[in-house]
């Protein structure tokens, strides 16, 4: 069809665009854990526990976690955790752990998850009794999404290890409760 050029200079009227709504980007409102999501979280924590004969005592700590979701219910996470020297002789600790995480409420504003991590921990690393040992950490989290990217995290877990700090084969157990922020993309 070769249109008359003159006619084109006077724009004709046409019906409404049937797809106009498709070109409008809806307001970003999706929240929650999703498949394939990349998550970064930081928490501050209060802990209570003992290392063999040392303690029990209160301590402070913090952790950073990177989590990569596979399908929407299962993530794999890696955590780095450290404590500041607590009272009662319990050694300060740094740990690096990794493990799976089961999310119970993906695609919801509130998500519950349970995880178990395994890794290595160092105890009183710069002292004469420094020790390194395996660590196992079961735990759970409650995430509340504040917007499509940012969420508030409540975390509780137990750090469990058998180490040689002070005496051979002493059991390190700390109950840790934390609060922090996370972002998910």
């Amino acid at each position: 069809m070769f249109a008359a050029v003159a006619g084109l200079l006077l724009a004709t009227t046409y019906p409404p665009d049937p797809f106009a709504a498709d070109y409008q980007v809806p307001k970003l409102r999706e929240v929650g854990t999703t498949a394939g999501q990349v998550r970064l979280m930081g928490t501050g924590a209060v802990m209570y526990g003992a290392d063999g004969p040392l303690g029990p005592s209160l301590g402070l700590g913090g952790s950073g976690t990177f989590e990569l979701m596979t399908f929407a219910f299962l993530g794999f996470r890696t955590t780095v955790e450290a404590t500041v020297p607590p009272s009662g002789g319990v050694p300060w600790m740094v740990a690096a752990r990794t493990g799976p995480c089961l999310h119970l409420l993906p695609y919801h504003r509130v998500d519950l998850s349970a995880y178990i991590e395994g890794g290595a921990a160092g105890f009183g690393l710069f002292g004469r009794a420094a020790a390194a040992a395996p660590m196992v950490t079961p735990g759970g989290s409650l995430d509340i999404w504040l917007d499509p990217v940012l969420f508030l995290r409540f975390d509780g877990h137990i750090d469990w290890s058998v180490n040689n700090f002070g005496s051979a084969g002493q059991t390190y157990v700390q109950v840790v409760g934390g609060i922090g922020l996370g972002v998910g993309f």
Binding site: M1, A3, V5, T12, Y23, P26, R29, T34, A35
Partner: protein, 458 residues
């Protein structure tokens, strides 16, 4: 070898024509992508040097994002790391959407390159695939995501995730993703030299001849019902009324026989209209499933202006349908490149769905208005429109195969239940298997190999 061709120009849905005033008219805008191998090799055998016949668009594309109001450039050159870095600077998406989109596309490339059988993803559309893999749903509304469907003329329809992933696999390198266009009419630059080549090899080409029926005996095709065809193509004035399955001239019907093998490139909308009374053939499992292959009416618009408009090299996409992308072909088409009296030769493309009831003038004005109201593109009318050519490719032999979700199970391979009939075309399963000129050429080569195998086995 005898080639029966419906049109007077070689190339089928990738052919080009000349209007009475000499204006180049393409069936639609065509590109040759860097991963194409069999098409350039065929051209070389015919004496065409692809380095001279084709020209690169520079690796760039430009997306108009209506939500932002701007046009943003992507670049496929420089390798994967640089492409990813360039995307991170794409200003059409907010940062958090860019991170989410980039992460999902990285996963899509990882799946595409994993070596797994990608056809297992054919049952869902790529939008759903991406959302299942964590894409935030609203991102499917951005032009940069919608472009994936526009490029296959699927929008507003969805497209198979398999087709998208297979395309990403083949376009995963900068070289494989480079886009080229012919320096002139596609028939003139590519198909006519290839036609001359096969003539030199002894082939006879019968133009404007339409095949209407198979004649068969047992499992062999013994004859074809053919007829002279009306002139077809975009320069023929559009007819009103129903679109016939065949452009046959009454009274010219005859039977063609005396052959051993047939390679049929008849597209599905025409194929399913052949042998209409043959219930036994059309109820057989092989032929019955061909009715599930759908197609779309593509639309093409060329606007020539006296002064330059749209300074972007390469395709600009993301505008409202039906003509949602445009390329200024003046720098690439040799006959226009050095002409001072031509500012731009804007070629627009898309498909008709949703606009079937609009008149040609309404579509043309709507398109010009949509592009012109974006300052970065420029006002087309103000640049002085000198020529407008618009056409719809809606007749059964003009329509484009729709690579919608679930389509793979219905696509036949090159072999058929008839021992001497083989299929070829972009709609036929083949080693490339995505709807491209490369897929059509590859299926033709596979059909030719199948003929040789059958001949050797006799």
């Amino acid at each position: 070898m005898r080639i029966v061709d419906l049109a007077s120009a070689l190339g089928g849905k990738a052919s080009s024509y000349r209007a009475s005033d000499g204006l180049l008219v393409e069936h639609g805008w065509h590109m040759v992508v860097g991963f194409y191998k069999n098409l350039p090799d065929l051209a070389r055998r015919a004496g065409v040097d692809p380095e001279r016949a084709l020209v690169s668009l520079g690796g760039v594309g430009h997306g108009y994002e209506p939500s932002h109001g701007g046009i943003f450039t992507t670049n496929s050159r420089g390798g994967r790391a640089e492409v990813a870095a360039n995307f991170n600077r794409y200003g059409g998406l907010p940062f958090e959407d860019r991170v989410n989109f980039g992460r999902v596309m990285a996963e899509a490339f990882a799946v595409a390159l994993s070596g797994e059988d990608l056809t297992r993803h054919d049952d869902i559309c790529f939008d759903s695939w991406a959302v299942e893999h964590g894409l935030r749903r609203h991102i499917t509304h951005y032009s940069i995501f919608r472009f994936l469907r526009l490029a296959y003329f699927n929008y507003p329809e969805q497209m198979s995730a398999y087709h998208m992933l297979e395309t990403m696999r083949r376009m995963s390198t900068s070289e494989g993703a480079e886009i080229y266009v012919a320096r002139g009419g596609t028939s003139e630059v590519l198909w006519n030299p290839i036609g001359d080549y096969v003539r030199r090899l002894g082939a006879q080409i019968l133009p404007r001849t339409v095949v209407t029926d198979w004649i068969y005996d047992g499992d062999r095709i013994t004859g074809l019902r053919i007829a002279d065809a009306f002139e077809t193509g975009p320069v023929v004035p559009a007819r009103t009324g129903p679109r016939p399955a065949f452009p046959a001239i009454l009274g010219t019907e005859r039977t063609q026989d005396g052959f051993d093998y047939i390679v049929s490139t008849v597209p599905p909308p025409v194929l399913v209209a052949m042998n209409p009374d043959d219930t036994r053939m059309w109820q057989s499992p092989f032929f019955r499933r061909l009715h599930n292959l759908r197609s779309v009416c593509t639309v093409s618009l060329t606007v020539t202006t006296a002064r330059r408009v749209n300074t972007f090299p390469g395709p600009v996409h993301g505008f409202p349908s039906p003509l949602n992308f445009a390329v200024d072909m003046k720098p690439y088409w040799s006959e226009f490149a050095s002409r001072d009296d031509v500012g731009s030769v804007l070629v627009f493309g898309g498909q008709e769905t949703g606009f079937e009831g609009w008149t040609d003038s309404q579509i043309v004005d709507f398109t010009i208005d949509n592009f012109s109201r974006v300052p970065a593109f420029g006002d087309i009318r103000a640049a002085g429109i000198t020529k407008v050519e618009f056409h719809r490719n809606g007749k059964p032999w003009e329509r484009l195969f729709l690579c919608e979700p679930g389509v793979q199970q219905f696509r036949p391979g090159v072999r058929t239940p008839f021992k001497n009939l083989f299929f070829a075309g972009d709609w036929v399963r083949n080693d490339v298997s995505i709807v491209t000129m490369e897929g059509a050429v590859t299926s033709g080569m596979e059909a030719a190999d199948a003929v040789l195998d059958a001949a050797a086995a006799r």
